[in-house]
């Protein structure tokens, strides 16, 4: 994946968004965002609500008027200040969160809406084809209100796919579905999208869903992309404490860099690349905490006492406290003593048990403290 770059004469196919900035009134919701989605690639745009991800999607679709920057579809400019291709001529499909199916048309009518100019036979075939892809062949004559939420979402996907868009956009397409249905529908959606070969951009606020679906994840925060990379990179080498924290609850400590490492209640964590004496933030995933029996040969030995242990199903969640019984600083404050560990499988020690704690360096990250909010 080449880096998106401006002022290079040749542009890659798929969806290219360059230098997108956007304001709602005085509020800046997008700040010079660059994003490239190649044909056949599925990129997930994740971030907390209000980070600008849906606005970015709507700009790509042409439903929101571009203010600054440039949008290209298959190497052709579809929006830049002063020039705009209306949404109906962009060759872009969009699956809405609320499906936005037309209630006055049956399933076949909805799916055929975007290919009205096709000859009737070809149109019929195409409708059958996409309905078959999403597993809704039997419902061609049904009306949207007769379908379940999952079925409606499948029809919405088929409708967006029917005109063979070069770019597919999906706006939180599964958030209206209940958990069990969601897994099935998103699994099917992934395969259908991959099969279509379109450049797909999906917005979600659910990091787990992004990990499930994405070839690449772009994490957004306050109108800019904090990190853009393969899921394994975004998870394994987060660019900031925000990104690290976005993929699940984490333990956070603040401290000074001394001797190339930061002192925390659970030991010294190496701080490569940080200047001596600067304030740093240490983020450790709960699954990076290794607990061993208290008397084991642990180096350096940090003892922690169990406050509570809960079984979450596939893993166990342990509340721990180190440094004795005295109430320390609160969570998030420097040097607080309460932290969490996630242990695979069933592991339920008694309250008050003491363990030695070691930290998996691959699950511990140190960032300059200025990065915190």
């Amino acid at each position: 994946m080449s880096e998106p770059a401006r002022d290079i004469p040749t542009m890659p196919p798929g969806l290219v968004m360059l230098g997108i900035s956007h304001h709602f009134g005085r509020r800046r919701v997008l700040d010079s965002v660059d994003l490239v989605v190649s044909p056949g690639e599925l990129v997930c745009l994740v971030g907390p609500s209000g980070c600008g991800k849906t606005t970015l999607l709507r700009i790509a679709a042409g439903l929101e008027e571009l203010q600054q920057g440039r949008v290209l579809v298959d190497a052709c400019v579809v929006a830049e200040p002063g020039t705009v291709v209306p949404p109906e001529r962009r060759g872009v499909g969009l699956v809405f969160q609320d499906t936005a199916l037309f209630p006055h048309l049956d399933v076949a009518g909805n799916v055929g809406f975007g290919i009205a100019r096709m000859p009737a036979d070809a149109r019929r075939l195409r409708i059958d084809e996409v309905l078959h892809q999403v597993g809704m062949s039997d419902y061609a004559a049904s009306y949207p209100h007769q379908l379940s939420g999952g079925q409606q979402q499948r029809v919405a996907l088929a409708r967006a796919l029917a005109p063979r868009p070069r770019v597919m956009l999906l706006d939180e397409p599964f958030s209206g579905l209940d958990t069990r249905l969601r897994e099935q529908v998103r699994d099917d959606t992934l395969h259908v999208l991959k099969h279509s070969g379109a450049a797909a951009l999906m917005v979600t606020h659910d990091p787990e869903e992004a990990m499930f679906m994405a070839d690449r994840i772009a994490v957004m925060r306050d109108g800019h992309i904090e990190q853009d990379g393969r899921p394994v990179d975004v998870y394994g080498t987060p660019a900031s404490a925000f990104v690290a924290a976005f993929f699940g609850q984490v333990n956070v400590w603040q401290g000074m860099v001394r001797g190339g490492a930061v002192d925390t209640p659970i030991g010294r964590i190496a701080a490569p690349g940080l200047a001596e004496g600067t304030r740093a933030e240490v983020v450790v995933r709960p699954e990076g905490m290794k607990l061993s029996p208290g008397d084991g040969p642990v180096e350096p030995p940090v003892a922690a006492k169990v406050l509570a242990a809960r079984l979450l199903g596939r893993s166990s969640w342990i509340h721990l406290c180190c440094g004795g019984d005295q109430p320390g600083p609160k969570e998030g404050e420097a040097g607080h003593l309460h932290f969490h560990a996630r242990v695979p499988g069933r592991f339920l020690p008694c309250e008050g048990d003491v363990f030695a704690v070691t930290v998996d360096p691959a699950q511990a990250f140190v960032f300059p403290a200025a990065d915190t909010k």
């Binding site: 042409g62 190497a75 949404p87 109906e88 969009l94 936005a100 037309f102 006055h104 975007g114």
Partner: protein, 558 residues
Amino acid sequence: MTTASSTRDFAVPRRIDAWTVVALLIAVVVAAPIVVVVLSIAVPAGTIWSHLAETVLPLYIGNSLLLMAGVGIGVAVIGTGTAWLVTMTQFPGRRVLEWALLVPLAVPAYVIAYAYAALLDVGGPLQDWLRRDIGILRPDLWIPNVRSLGGAIVVLTLVLYPYVYLLCRAAFADQSTALLEASRMLGRGPARSFLTLALPMARPAIAGGIALALMETLSEFGAMQHFGVQTFVTGIVRTWQGLGEPVGAAQLAAMLMLFVLALVVIERRSRGRRRYAHGQGAYRAFTTLHLRGWHAAAAAAICAAPVLFGFVVPALALGWLIWQDPEIALATPLLPLALNSLILGAVGAAITVAVALIVAYAMRLRGGPAVAAAGRAAAMGYAIPGAVIAVGIMLPFAWIDNQVDAIMRATFGISTGLLLSGTVIAVLFGYVVRFLAVALNAVEASLTRVTPNMDGAARLLGATTWEMLRRVHVPLIRGGLVTASILVFVEVMKELPATLLMRPFNFNTLAVQTYHFAADERLAEAAPPALLVVAVGLLPVLVLARRIARARPEGNGA
């Protein structure tokens, strides 16, 4: 692969948008008659204005103020009282009266005026009965003359209170039962709770309803003419047609618009403060007060009286007029009149709803301030009396006709005569100006049911804005379009002054013919077309009534 600077050949540079232009154009055209009337102030009218100011102007102002005061109090008392009784109490007949209270809305004020004039005049059935059959033979027995300012106030109140009733009923039904329950728990009885809590909370609805009723009062022509009450509207017609002074009439119209403007401001402000909800589910058995014995009888009588005197009695009176002398009453064939009314109504409704759809759709597509202002300007006509609109249309139309005629005669030696004024075009234009707001409200309300994402979906599936309107919006809001058409159709059927002033020579409708007969005191002959107008007017009222009945399927009858 192409270069980054290449733009798709169908990419269009941003330009002035067609929907915006069309919406602005419509607004300008629709607002033009009103602007003409306002601008007429600047035209020197010579002696006519000083003549009017010296003779009739104080009378017009005084009568208008008295009418507004009388009708305002009347509709407020009847409207809020009946609304409270049907929403907050249970008594026999409540469910029927709840919608029946709307029925007088179907009776145009001029029709009820003719009916009561026929009923109560010397020689009418009531006086006959009192003097001859009851035996009160004294000829000097004083019976208040219905053809008076007081009579006008009473008959207008009887057909206009439903505006207040309708808004108040919705407001009461919408009020939180929890608040009223709290008031009851804090020791206030139902009557005091109503006066200190429900009534103040419903104030915006009451004010809005009164404002609408008073707008109708100010625009009323037929009833005032028949009762000999001189108001701005009768003055406009007299100055224009009797004195042949169109500019003087326009200036009177401009003065009348000052009154209207005040009402519009009141109505707008009240609308901002009340929520449009039809109180689903906010209705619980606990707060409804079960009336028994004479309380129940009194409540039923209070709610039945407006229906009786606003609809049943005048309808019976008109029927009685026909029954008395059917040969004379039915001498005039109704079919041509009805056909004219039907054609005007149908064409007027079609044009008005089409224009409303364009404006509402443009407002939906383009949220800019220019389009929003266009929408407001287009909806202005609902407050403007038909006579004022007629003046505002006929003045420029006559001028255009004269100019065209002069040019044609000078260049080709042909006289084109009247092209616009005195044609059906002028009448239809007047209807669009006057009733666009009615259609716009109905269309806008149904458009809100099409979600913005459906627009997005249609656009991304390749539909242009025009195709989207045809393939998505129109099919989805078909019901709303039909409702809007019915509303405008009925308004056109009932409309008197605008039709009367602008219609082509000898082109008569049911309303116009009713007026002509009544003006000649041939009330028996006026009765059949009047009854027909009332029958058509019942249509939208029944639609409304059905909506009310459906909103409360659980309405546990007493």
